[in-house]
Assembly symmetry: C2
Homo-oligomer: 540 residues x 2
């Protein structure tokens, strides 16, 4: 049987798009080469890895930014049958140590600016045998207790002749760890088949529509689920790729768009909000030839969508999770007969999580697992399965058992699905407030509260309540200068005009600081613990 694997993607680029370019920003400057050059270097890298003893099924870790060297690793490692573990650079040292040991990585490829981090963790890495610095020159006095190699030296010494293996499509090609808010991250492995199919699916006319004519700027970090695997999709269709290197600032993004002719890019809303602010500061209104932005990670705020529309850029929201090969589970492109919606309605639609990709299936179920109607009102947990949805956690049967239900992944997201099939996330299961048998979306309460001019940050949490089981409590950090000038009643009155009656929190607590998790999200767990007795004795 013909195997859906990464070898095919790589060879296709060499054979048909050998002249197309890849541009990479590294801390040694810009590198510009062709797919043919990349192929040559991937072959050298395969031979180098074999020389270092890497074989089928072995784990290779990377701690790297979006550069051509990281791209080469994305091909060499899986094509030789090994597995690329992209370590999240935003992890704490403890999380890095845990995930690298859990994966059992044998070699660590690191960008030069990660050397200080490696120095901190290397002693505790149980399976790592050697370190490769992704650079062209040596770095003295590293003080590592393992052999150290230089990437470019390895390549130079290796032959560019190699025979690509035709790996079984169900073999693992990559692995990642979720950014769990509780406990240590959970690992998932991605197969050749899943990556191939996800790549194909993002080149559909009705999704990202990635094409050979596109120039794609990879803003999503390759250490975050391989930049959503978009480098594979781009290679499959032979699009020109632009890799923005370490910590791409708005001015770098702007320059790359202009100099390299970027037509499509992706990323989390924050990156593109920063970019808008940069444009505004400069009074810049022309970002041609950029035409499409794929926003994932969280939903694009309506203001962001509108601002980019005004710049002539289409904004799409791609929704997904680590377990769904990231943002290729659902996509918001209005159906043909919904294109004439009012701007406001269209904004609302684009900010939803959208329709599942072909190859992805969803259900919304109540707490007993019973399917709920698709009426845009019934709230339940989203279940998902599909051609690129993982079916287990790596080496963690307990987490697997907890998160999968008859072959469906429990997303932990509470959603509604409307009559057209558009999914909208209402809350996380663990954050929702269950009051007297009704669900209250903490997210919506927070969004409305943060619309109040005095409110900088607001968190709505469930607090145990003797009569209603749970009732919402609102924790508020005021904007500077508002302390003492705004009362609880002001905030609650504001919310009463905007929320169903029973959604309005029973009380408001003003705080100086709201606790946050390592990834910058509100730490609701800490708050729930702190305020767990707040309503004790209420209402009876």
């Amino acid at each position: 049987m013909f195997m859906l694997n990464i070898r095919h993607i790589l060879e296709r680029a060499r054979l048909y798009f050998g002249r197309k370019e890849i541009v990479s920003r590294t801390d040694e400057g810009y590198v510009r080469y062709t797919y043919r050059d990349m192929f040559d270097r991937v072959c050298r890298l395969i031979n180098a890895l074999e020389g270092l003893g890497i074989g089928y099924g072995d784990r290779v870790a990377s701690m790297a930014w979006n550069t051509h060297r990281h791209l080469e690793l994305h091909f060499a490692v899986p094509v030789m049958g090994a597995v690329l573990h992209t370590v999240n650079l935003r992890y704490s040292p403890e999380e890095m140590i845990y995930t690298i040991n859990k994966a059992g990585d044998r070699i660590l490829f690191v960008d030069p600016d990660m050397i200080p981090t490696v120095r901190k963790i290397l002693e505790k890495l149980e399976t790592v045998e050697s370190v490769v610095i992704m650079s062209s020159k040596g770095h003295e006095d590293l003080g590592f207790n393992k052999p150290v190699y230089i990437y470019e030296e390895l390549l130079e010494k290796s032959s560019s002749e190699c025979r690509l293996r035709d790996i079984d499509e169900n073999s693992p090609a990559a692995m990642c760890f979720t950014s769990g808010t509780t406990g240590f991250p959970k690992g998932v492995t991605y197969t050749h088949r899943g990556i191939f199919l996800r790549s194909l699916a993002t080149c559909l006319a009705d999704t990202y529509a990635l094409s050979e004519r596109d120039v794609i700027l990879h803003i999503v970090p390759m250490f975050h689920i391989s930049s959503w695997f978009m480098p594979y999709a781009a290679t499959l269709v032979g699009a020109k790729q632009v890799l923005p290197g370490p910590r791409p600032k708005p001015e770098i993004i702007y320059d790359l768009i202009k100099k390299e002719g970027v037509t499509v890019s992706d990323g989390a809303p924050t990156v593109w909000i920063d970019f808008l602010n940069y444009l505004r500061t400069r009074g810049e209104k022309n970002i041609e030839p950029l035409r499409r932005l794929i926003i994932g990670g969280s939903a694009p705020p309506k203001a962001l969508i509108k601002s980019y529309w005004e710049l002539g850029v289409e904004v799409y929201h791609a929704w997904g999770m680590t377990e769904t090969y990231d943002s290729a589970a659902a996509f918001t492109r209005p159906k043909s007969y919904l294109e004439d919606l009012s701007e406001e309605a269209r904004l609302g639609l684009v900010a939803k999580q959208g329709l599942p990709f072909p190859g992805i299936e969803v259900m919304v179920v109540d707490e007993s697992g019973k399917p709920l109607p698709w009426d845009g009102r019934s709230i339940g947990e989203l279940l998902i399965r599909g051609a690129w949805v993982v079916e287990e956690y790596y080496g963690d049967p307990e987490a697997t058992k907890k998160s999968f239900l008859n072959g469906w992944l429990r997303t932990g997201d509470l959603v509604t699905i409307d009559g057209e099939g558009y999914i909208e996330i209402v809350d996380r299961v663990k954050d929702v407030i269950k009051s007297g048998g009704e669900w209250i979306s903490s997210v919506r309460v927070e969004n409305e509260a943060m619309a109040h001019p005095a409110v900088l940050e607001a968190v709505a949490i469930a607090v145990p309540h003797p009569r209603w089981i749970e009732r919402p409590l609102l924790i508020v950090k005021l904007r500077e200068g508002y302390a003492g000038k705004v009362s609880k009643e002001d905030i609650l009155g504001f919310l009463r005009e905007r929320l169903p009656k029973w959604w309005v929190p029973d009380d408001v607590v003003f705080v100086d600081e709201i606790p946050k998790t390592g990834t910058g999200k509100f730490d609701k767990k800490v708050l729930r613990e702190r305020f767990k007795d707040y309503y004790r004795g209420s209402g009876l």
Copy 2:
């Protein structure tokens, strides 16, 4: 594992595109309904088929045009695990009998206008147990010796409640027979996986780009490799589908484009040449909203491409074979950096067979199986493999052995591949002329000869030659009124200006009629036999 099957395609259309339309022209008038209606009727059909004893792996035959009922069969039969054998209506009665017996079909679904044909062959069908007339009313005095059912009566009596089976993706879903020019047709089976992947691949931005926004008119007959499986692709993305029914004439095509808003269609060049002639006769220059034509079966003549460009329609050539799920093996869309070609160069490019689809791989090899360079000059046989290329002939190990080489299908086509990877078919292996170790393309010789104003039809065949092993002989049928006014030397002189010296035939034979095969192609086999001694004793 999540299965890539037709159930997913069907359910996706019900869930997300339930309101979108399907329009069908039948001999009882036009039928217009939604995907939701189709789903309901497919469920009834599944129940009806179960009632008739059809189960997993059973073969069901259809002899039908492009109608909604044939579309329903395309879902009901494979979704229940059975196999739809679409009988080619252009076959001779003998070929129909052979293929139906070879497939072992248990039920025969026939359009009313095929009843006379069925009457001729039914006695000889060894496995067929019953016949279903695809109609809403009875037809008296059929004189069939098997039970006869009426399609609409079967559906009416059946429940619309059904549970769809999640068939293994490697199960057969459909089968077809090649139109072999020698001996009986060879059968192939198509899997759920292959159909799913082929469908996905034709919705890519870089190929057919089929989208929810499209309205597709299925001109390729569903009895010919399921209209290239395009009804599945259209259902997957929820495009509006237009089924033109029995023998669609140009005036019907025109009406459907205008009334239903057709944006994309497909077919063999002849259909679209006839359509052009119809437009010219009527002085019609506006065929909006038609935007894209996918031409397959044979390469689109340059004049056709140009005429449609003038009408504002893009023409793409999709190349394939019965063994490659038809026209989804290669596709001609100029690469981004080739878009600025001169019109003539662009015409030449679009008329080539193009670049392989993602998921398809090719090689060009010499007679010993050695790969040849991609230089646009080296001629060899095209080998192909891929995610939707069959790996055997049905129940025919001998033909399988002959046609497959280390997992590659020998296409029987002689091609060149240029430096950009564009494939161009030069000749069929069995028709090429091997002269003194060099290959001469019979197709090119014929094309040049037919450009002579006096020549109506020309065939170039290989004739054994004592010195050169083979030399070309040209068989010519002159246009009316030219007999006696044109000499052999006129024709040869004309060719000498247009062909490499050694490609010019040694002689010309004028004939009144050129023998043709059942499918209307020149019967070169008969001609080679007739003229096999023509050069005996030459040149020594």
